[in-house]
């Protein structure tokens, strides 16, 4: 569920987020979300909900009763698995932390806090509105309030030294619960950071330096018992984000709200959906029709195979090539796999499972490209039971 509004736009962010100085007609958006949710229920009848994720934007700007109404609708439309993971993304400001208890009452059982840094100067540079002190406090409230929580940090920031990151990550690990998301700063096209970067006014570690940052991060999180289960996500065993695992394991998900994407099976095909990005136009679409979708297309087998590969190899557990072959009739060529094994970039773990090694995960783009380019019709002898 995508809540597309933010109090301000961060200069590095290219997500579908919008600032509305004049305020937001929350009731209107709630109604539209509920209406679109109903449409999704019709498309995915018979499925069970295993997780809900409120992302954005800044969902913690939503009133708790809005969240409550939406979760209520979810449970009316679908059976919800016992112990389903219900996550809400939140900013660690004191105002928002003040709403945590009400979110909990609405049914949220996990929060993911956009802490980003534990240094005030860095937070200002990243355009964040909260302070490090507020973030620390919000983490404490989250720990007290929810069953599970996670927070995000951005590293390899402009001017950041490896030593500074070591200290900051050390503090983060001390504050953390069972889950952490650690992102290297990415310069995204069309953002203010990209403009600065293009003009040489913003220099971020790249190549060798970026590799060192990543290595240090893996070493420290491994030692702290929060190893990477995905490129940028760390968790104690069993504490992975179940919702996000669905994306990486290429399961089915409904994307509700402006600019949301979905994947679901219908008529033997996997369909890809996306909705209008602009919040008001999306709401208008939903109000005149029943949904805000501007795209709902069946994927070809080759597209499916590409998506499964590029998502699955992000996971430490890797991808089940047997399942992939059963679904798409495609498999990466053996000689390509063997070449990458020879370079110690991928490994076979189990009869049909392929995963990237730690070194390999750093160059996953190139690996996925090579494997995707090597796709051949899957051998009939291949084990397809996985």
């Amino acid at each position: 569920m995508h809540w597309p509004f933010c109090a301000s736009k961060c200069p590095y962010c290219d997500f579908n987020s919008h600032v509305r100085a004049g305020g937001i007609d929350e009731a209107r958006f709630l109604n539209a979300l509920l209406r679109e949710l109903e449409h999704w229920a019709a498309l995915t009848r018979g499925r069970t909900v295993r997780s809900v994720f409120f992302g954005g934007g800044t969902p913690s700007l939503m009133r708790a009763d809005t969240v409550d109404a939406m979760l209520d609708a979810v449970s009316r439309h679908w059976p919800v698995e016992a112990g389903a993971e219900i996550t809400l993304e939140a900013n660690p400001s004191s105002v928002e932390a003040g709403r945590f208890r009400d979110y909990r009452a609405a049914g949220i059982n996990r929060v993911s806090l956009g802490v980003q840094s534990l240094d005030d100067a860095q937070l200002r540079a990243l355009g964040r509105l909260h302070t490090a002190q507020e973030a620390r406090a919000a983490i404490k409230v989250a720990r007290r309030t929810f069953d599970r929580f996670s927070f995000d940090l951005i590293y390899a920031r402009p001017g950041q030294t490896l030593e500074a990151w070591r200290a900051e990550l050390g503090e983060a690990l001390a504050l953390s619960g069972e889950h952490l998301s650690l992102y290297q700063l990415t310069i995204e096209e069309g953002t203010p950071f990209a403009q600065l970067h293009a003009r040489g006014k913003l220099i971020v570690p790249d190549g060798e330096a970026a590799g060192c940052f990543y290595d240090l991060t893996q070493d420290m999180t491994d030692r702290a018992g929060l190893p990477a289960y995905e490129i940028s996500n760390h968790a104690a065993p069993g504490e992975e984000s179940r919702h996000n695992l669905t994306y990486w394991r290429y399961g089915e998900y409904a994307g509700v709200g402006p600019g949301a994407h979905g994947r679901f099976m219908a008529g033997g095909n996997r369909r890809a959906t996306s909705t209008e990005r602009n919040p008001e136009r999306w709401a208008a679409l939903v109000e005149t029709g029943v949904h805000g979708m501007i795209e709902d297309v069946p994927l070809t087998r080759a597209e499916e195979a590409d998506e499964a590969l590029l998502m699955g190899l992000r996971l430490t557990e890797g991808i089940d090539l047997g399942r992939l072959a059963a679904r798409t009739d495609l498999a990466p060529a053996d000689h390509t796999i063997n070449e990458l094994i020879g370079l110690r970039l991928v490994q076979r773990s189990g009869p049909t499972r392929l995963s990237a090694t730690r070194t390999g995960r750093m160059v996953l783009n190139a690996i996925v490209l090579q494997l995707a380019q090597s796709f051949v019709p899957a051998k009939t002898t291949q084990d397809t039971t996985g």
């Binding site: 992302g55 890809a272 998506e307 783009n365």
Partner: protein, 600 residues
């Protein structure tokens, strides 16, 4: 048929940008041949490339009717000739069709090397030269200095040079007057057997091959059976006409006249520039002098970037050759680049034009390999082979000696850039023959090996002189040289399309430059890639491309997946554009970069 005394045949000689096309346009306009509406800038340069580069590739003519103050109407045949050294032979044939030449010199720039070469040819052909100073309206114009320069360098009287501005039209009428008054009429005998010079020919989708001719003796009529003397082939004339510049059909062409004919000729290659056209039955005894078949001097490989386009490329080449017999091609196969063609060109500009036309007019994406010249290889068994492609170099043990073509180059350069140009010529194994001054500019005569010139010499010359140097050359002959084949190894495998023949003394610097350039152009792979230059088994230069360290995207969730898949598709397409060599993907630019390398 016009009275021969009322005909004037002339061409315009000028350096690029000195205003040849603009003056042509003005002359055509003044004689009322085209309406203002039809007046497109540079009427005669009809190909896109010609118009864009401001150069003429194919010779063209236009007939003008000019009413002189004396009351008589004259037939003026303006010959627009190619203006580049690559087409020197075509220029010489166009000049042979004229009695006079209008020499256009930019009044602020002065005489350039290329103008010199053409004007010397005109003088050699006994043409009357009519000097015209163009762009006199510019504040930087210095007519007196340029007149003096024309007299000093060309050795003709420039005191009556006509000052004009082709752009504004100022004084252009005086040029027409002078053409009638100062250029001689042609000579010819109407009753003698047909003798006509084949000036140029091209393929027209509607008319077939169109042949441009200048009649010396006799006449050319529809229905007449003619013979092309070099091949003995006969054809029946279908149409006879002239260009104004629009086509206009006529009953016949007589002595002194310039025009075209068509005769159901299939290929341009059957009509060779400089050939003599005569009557099949009543043939002339003596063909016109100076005919020689086109001889390619520069060779390179052309490969389709997408291997699936090989047949398209073959078809495109055949189509181009229909219109340009001076360009040759034969199938070539390369381990690195797959199937393609080894092509021969008259020079580097010709090479550029052909590749550009292939890409533009036929929508092909091409990989061009480093240009090479023809080497004469004398083998120890006494035989001699002509080497067009470095990949075909025989084993060193079998070679007795290698000879390479040398040129004599004329370079005009402002004094302040002379040092740089001298160094460039020296670096390229040049031998200085002469150094004189033409006003404030040095005129250098150098002998240079052609293989050093085809290798980005012109680009370097332009950059060293900030564009002020001009350059012209002609082939001088073959000389033995200490030449070796340099191989380039990528990931320990030789890449045939990158190998080249170099002088031993230049091998190391060329090899180093090549390795450095490739290091820049080949993207990092998942493994480290050594790049080496080698003479035989001996490595003379080496660079290493380090393995890719990190390229993974930090964030990728459900909402990113479509975008990431599209990115993956783009990357796949990008990779397809590269040439896989062993395990290494080499981008197309790497092959082209071998042509343009800065060794300094």
């Amino acid at each position: 048929m016009t009275d021969i005394n009322l005909i004037r045949n002339f061409s315009i000689i000028a350096h690029i940008d000195h205003g040849k096309s603009t003056l042509s346009d003005r002359l055509i306009q003044l004689c009322g041949n085209v309406s203002d509406r039809e007046m497109k800038e540079q009427i005669l340069d009809s190909m896109d490339i010609e118009r864009e580069r401001g150069i003429t590739i194919k010779a063209q003519t236009v007939r003008l009717d000019y009413r002189h103050a004396n009351g008589k109407t004259y037939q003026l045949n303006l010959m627009d000739t190619p203006g580049h050294v690559d087409f020197a032979y075509e220029v010489s044939r166009s000049l042979a069709a004229c009695e006079g030449a209008v020499l256009v010199v930019d009044a602020s720039q002065g005489v350039e090397a290329q103008t010199l070469a053409n004007v010397y040819q005109a003088v050699d052909n006994n043409l009357e030269i009519l000097p015209v100073l163009n762009k006199v309206d510019l504040p930087s114009a210095d007519s007196d200095r340029v007149k003096q320069q024309i007299e000093d360098v060309i050795g003709i009287d420039a005191s009556h040079a006509i000052p004009i501005s082709a752009k504004t039209g100022q004084n252009v009428a005086a040029v027409l007057e002078a053409i009638v008054e100062r250029l001689p009429p042609p000579k010819g005998n109407r009753n003698a057997p047909l003798k006509a010079l084949l000036i140029d020919s091209w393929y027209d989708a509607y008319l077939g091959v169109v042949v441009l001719v200048r009649i010396f003796d006799g006449s050319l009529k529809k229905g007449q059976k003619i013979k092309l003397m070099s091949s003995g082939a006969t054809h029946q004339i279908e149409r006879v006409g002239i260009f104004r510049p629009k086509q206009e059909m006529l009953a016949e062409l007589g002595p002194g006249e310039v025009g075209f004919f068509t005769a159901a000729i299939k290929q341009v290659a059957d009509t060779r520039v400089g050939d003599t056209v005569t009557d099949d039955k009543n043939s002339t005894v003596t063909p016109l002098p100076g005919f020689k078949p086109a001889q390619p001097v520069v060779f390179c490989g052309l490969f389709p970037a997408d291997a699936a386009q090989f047949e398209d490329l073959r078809e495109a080449m055949a189509r181009l050759r229909l219109n340009d017999a001076s360009f040759s091609y034969e199938t070539e196969s390369s381990a690195a680049l797959g199937f393609g063609f080894r092509c021969g060109f008259l020079g580097l500009l010709h090479l550029e034009i052909i590749t550009e036309r292939l890409e533009r007019e036929f929508n092909l994406d091409l990989i061009t390999t480093a240009p090479s010249v023809i080497y004469h290889i004398h083998l120890t068994d006494g035989s001699k082979v002509e080497l067009h492609n470095p990949a075909d170099m025989p084993d060193a043990g079998r070679i007795e000696r290698i000879e390479e073509p040398w040129i004599e180059a004329t370079i005009l350069v402002p004094d302040e850039h002379l040092g740089g140009v001298l160094k460039l010529c020296q670096d390229r194994r040049g031998r200085q023959k002469n150094l004189t001054y033409v006003g404030t500019r040095a005129m250098l005569i150098y002998e240079l090996p052609l293989n050093e010139v085809v290798f980005d010499f012109y680009d370097r010359l332009k950059s060293i002189s900030r564009g002020y140097a001009s350059f012209d050359y002609h082939i001088k002959g073959y000389e033995a040289g200490d030449l070796v084949k340099m191989s380039i190894l990528v990931n320990a495998e030789p890449v045939d399309a990158l190998s080249m023949i170099v002088h031993r003394t230049r091998a190391e610097s060329r090899g180093r430059a090549m390795c450095e350039k490739l290091k820049e152009l080949i993207p990092p792979h998942l493994f480290q890639i050594p790049i080496q230059a080698a003479l035989g088994a001996r490595i003379i230069a080496r660079e290493t491309i380090r393995a890719l360290r990190k390229d993974v995207i930090a964030k990728c969730y459900g909402g990113d997946i479509s975008r990431k898949r599209k990115l993956l598709d783009k990357q796949k397409a990008g990779k397809k554009k590269m040439r896989q060599f062993g395990k290494v993907d080499i981008p197309q630019e790497a092959f082209i970069a071998a042509l343009k390398m800065d060794e300094n």
